[in-house]
Symmetry: C2
Subunit: 199 residues, 2 copies
DNA sequence: TCATCAATACGGATCGTCTCGTTTCGTTCG
DNA sequence: CGAACGAAACGAGACGATCCGTATTGATGA
């Protein structure tokens, strides 16, 4: 399987690129984002600073690319939520899993770093939505649409709104640390959302 | 008796304090938070840098204090939501007003700065919840409780959860710029919340 | 008088640019 | 066919700039 057009030094480029992204991921996972420096990423990757600045315009862009590479490496195709036919059970499963993800310190630091950047950079926010958030949202919406077709949701329900009401409270509770991300809380969100958008 | 600060210099202190907070507010409102420096705040306030560091440990703390002073200056007692007896109308009024606030560029930058800080500083987040978020949440909850007692909400409804589902989606849409904060969206959130927690 | 202040110098950290000499790898030519 | 070549990319790190947080100093005002 050959790439589009084999440029001259693509292998070196790719190797250093991967090293940089891995180093960025590791550093952001193990300490606060503001403490991570470009020089530290370069050192950890065994790479010159200029090699980083040659590819990305800022630390934000590097870290974002590192996160992006994670989700791209995962599969390469669209994710899909479980669909057992039992909407409530499926949603609770996913919500609980999401809550658990947020509880992992490495993941916590990573996502906080990402949110710090996208809150203050509209361009990065757009890229985030396009490449990370939307595929996930589409997967969730697909599950809701399936339920809608099965008559488990109001045929006129606004699925985007339902998604917002399902996930935004969990996200905000995590972001503001306004309460524990318990199983009970995740379940309550599912219950309330189903009451609001049920048939 | 140890050295104690007499009331002698309290007026000077207060004057410079106000100047610092006003300068911080102005600067954060007019450019991105990361671009605001302590030196710029000091210069704008006509104050030495040390006078700032004498009172606050970091830029975050200064900016946070500036925001806090805003809400304290407002009244000094608890806020209250309108209560005409029509829960849906009252909530839509408040949600629309909130959406409009977010649309103001100065307010936008201010709140983004605040969220950047509290997302990465647990201590600041706690202070934010205690001094800014909770009073507002209590006012909102009071309005919901009033409706609950009037039989307009399920007597067993979890009012905290209802609040989360009402406001978190609006907040997240603003923070991630994932869509316009329209009147229609604000209204939809109220409608859906009332369906979920209605009697 | 004397605590507080504005102003400013300072060392440390990090940024992003720039310049070295080196490594890699496809191409060329013996 | 295989060794030498040259351009692209590289690792390393010096550099000036900016900002941080601390320390110093002379002026100010209660």
């Amino acid at each position: 399987m050959s790439h589009e057009k084999g440029p001259d030094h693509s292998r070196r480029k790719e190797r250093s690129r991967q090293a940089i992204l891995a180093a960025a991921r590791a550093l952001v996972a193990e300490e606060a984002y503001e403490k991570v420096t470009v020089e530290a990423i370069a050192a950890r990757a065994g790479v010159g600073k200029q090699t980083i600045y040659r590819r990305w315009p800022s630390k934000s862009a590097v870290v974002f690319a590192a996160l992006l590479a994670l989700s791209e490496g995962a599969d390469g195709q669209s994710v899909a939520l479980p669909d057992t036919g039992d909407l409530e059970a499926d949603l609770k499963l996913v919500m609980r899993a999401t809550a658990e993800e947020f509880a992992d310190p490495s993941f916590d630091r990573l996502i906080r770093a990402l949110n710090t950047e996208i809150a203050n950079d509209a361009a990065l926010a757009a890229e985030y939505r396009e490449k990370l958030a939307r595929p996930l949202d589409e997967a969730k919406k697909a599950r809701l649409r399936s339920a809608q077709e099965a008559g488990q949701l109001d045929p006129d329900a606004d699925l985007d709104l339902a998604l917002d009401m399902l996930y935004a409270p969990l996200f905000q509770r995590w972001l503001h640390r306004s309460g524990p991300l318990t199983t009970a809380y995740a379940d309550s969100l599912v219950d309330a959302t189903l009451r609001a958008f049920g048939p």
